[in-house]
Symmetry: C2
Subunit: 363 residues, 2 copies
């Protein structure tokens, strides 16, 4: 029996390989090196699997139109995990994709029980502003709220709801709660509506997601074929690893020590890393020199690998030196902490400058 | 245990009294005589029950603003049963209500599996055109399609979906199918959205329905209280009897002999009544003279009572004479047939004249 994936769950993924096999995902390796100017974490295995990405790759290679959609749940602080996804959005925009960003405020309203106005503020202040500060260009990106999209989008929700059954929904999500169904129906419409005649019409579209969102992708792809009147092209998808929480577990918005927020004071972030980053270093220096660090569990190492050390030669040296025990845990932490401090110092200035890009988003 | 009501079912209602007791409906008697210039069928018991209608009655008496909403399922022919509801719509418009008419095309799309464009055509040609021909004025009525309503309407669907549970839905509807939930969610939004700030704000609103639609009313009233941010006033409702099918059973769009359509040729309608109307007359004339007709089952009699003989004195004479056996079944049929023929002749001319009122409804 396939390992269950709960898109609303808090399960940590232990075995990416098993999930790929169970659900028929293909490894991303063949594209990782071939995508032009890919972000660091895409080149280095942070994006590890896909469905039908060949169709997107062909568009990139052939300079043909394609689209990308991603979503954000307005909740908590914008942290490095979100920044990793933001880099993908920006990357696809640079590749020429028509970019859609869904603010899942209806889902958040039902799940988090917060007023829409408050969710709107979080989306703008924490997410959208940081996207722009990180380099997303307002022109050519369609950032929208589920609660105020468009008639054709909502019509699609009404239409697709008749194309499934309670049994199918329960088999995928283990639930028949109306609020879950309506959340999922919005998500399916999010993914499909860029292909409506009112938007781009049928077009290759990719959705970068965490593996926990794959049930939505599979379900959407199934339903795609049940709406032949729209000639939807089944959406493609890529799967990225979750960034580890600072202390080694999951990042959790309820635990500020589990993440570095992009609004953290730079010195505070530095301190968090030095004091709390889960280390793959050994119990004492002698042992460390002998065995080398356990890179697979070392959080600082992974932050460098996926985000903060884009230079391959430097990264290789860290890998070699830390893996062999030549470099100590404190040194790696220090190396990362400095990078993060500088990044935050620069980013926080950019963030304030980016406020003029929020004109389209009335509070 | 209360008698179950299935809003999607084909059950014929046998015992209105039991259903009223089971579901806490109040008799409409106290208002039936007091409503000014009420349509014939409302004065004569065709509207037999209500929830919270006192709130509406107070508005009528006090000339205060109120609203009315009803819906149509674009399907089959527009027949006398629909005309009875149309008379209520027109009556409320004359009383000064702000009138909303929902075309339940998303529900029809999911239930009848017809393309939206085809449903649109049926709604306009069969329903809306006949409403106008029967006297509904385009000014001051808001006729809309579920598939193209408005952002605030769809936002409400998203929000209310999180205010219920699968168990509650199953207890009311005996189903957890997504297409049923989405149909119901649209219907609840239909009933509530006139009270959104984008429309009228909180306002007394009544929904005239057949008893089979009461689950939607109860469910809507329950959910009303779970959206305190809108200060919705719980909607009122009235319940009308179903018009009997011509042959005594239910009207069914799949059986043209069960109804008189407003597009039937007048002579064809006359012939249908003479040949097929279910009679409460006795087995032979002698018996009929002795026992009188069984008025409770006589379809022609009921059509006269509720629709075609508004004159109380004349109706009383028919009741007396037919009930006592003085009048024969054929004579009552002939009386009705002539009324119906003349009505259709006049209506069909009005129908063509009313086409200029369809300007707002592009095909």
């Amino acid at each position: 029996m396939p390992a269950a994936i709960d898109p609303w769950g808090r399960n940590e993924v232990k075995d990416y390989g098993k999930i790929m096999a169970d659900f028929g995902l293909k490894p991303f390796d063949e594209f990782a090196g071939a995508m032009p100017d890919a972000p660091t974490f895409m080149r280095r295995g942070g994006v590890f699997a896909h469905r039908d990405f060949g169709r997107i790759f062909d568009c990139v290679k052939g300079k043909k139109p394609f689209a990308m959609l991603t979503g954000l749940m307005p909740s908590g602080k914008f942290h490095l995990g979100h920044a990793m996804l933001a880099q993908q959005i920006i990357y696809y925009q640079q590749l020429g994709a028509k970019v859609f960003v869904t603010v899942a405020d209806i889902e958040a309203y039902n799940v988090r029980k917060l007023p829409l106005a408050e969710l709107r503020k979080i989306a703008i202040e924490e997410y959208i502003l940081n996207y722009f500060a990180l380099g997303l260009k307002p022109k050519g990106v369609d950032i929208y709220f589920q609660s105020e999209r468009s008639i054709p989008y909502y019509r699609l929700i009404g239409m697709l709801s008749g194309k499934t059954t309670a049994n199918e929904f329960k088999a995928i999500y283990g639930s028949d709660e109306p609020e879950k169904f309506i959340s999922v129906a919005h998500q399916i419409a999010d993914i499909l509506h860029p292909q409506l005649p009112d938007y781009l019409g049928p077009i290759p579209l990719t959705v970068p997601v965490g593996i926990d969102q794959d049930p939505h992708i599979r379900y959407t792809r199934d339903i795609t074929g049940r709406l032949p009147e729209f000639s939807f092209i089944p959406p493609s998808s890529t799967y990225h690893k979750f960034m580890k929480g600072l202390q080694g577990g999951k990042m959790s918005s309820s635990d500020p020590l589990s993440y570095i927020a992009l609004t953290d004071a730079p010195e505070e972030a530095e301190r968090k890393i030095m004091k709390h980053a889960f280390s793959g270093g050994r119990n004492n220096i002698a042992e460390h020199r002998r065995l080398g660090a356990d890179l697979a569990v070392d959080v600082s190492y992974q932050y460098l690998l996926y985000l903060f050390e884009p230079d391959d030669a430097k990264m290789k040296k860290i890998t070699d030196d830390y893996g062999s025990g030549k470099m100590l845990s404190g040194e790696v932490k220090q190396y990362l902490a400095e990078k993060v401090r500088k990044f935050l110092q620069g980013h926080q200035k950019k963030r304030e400058k980016a406020r003029n890009k929020l004109a389209a988003f009335s509070p």
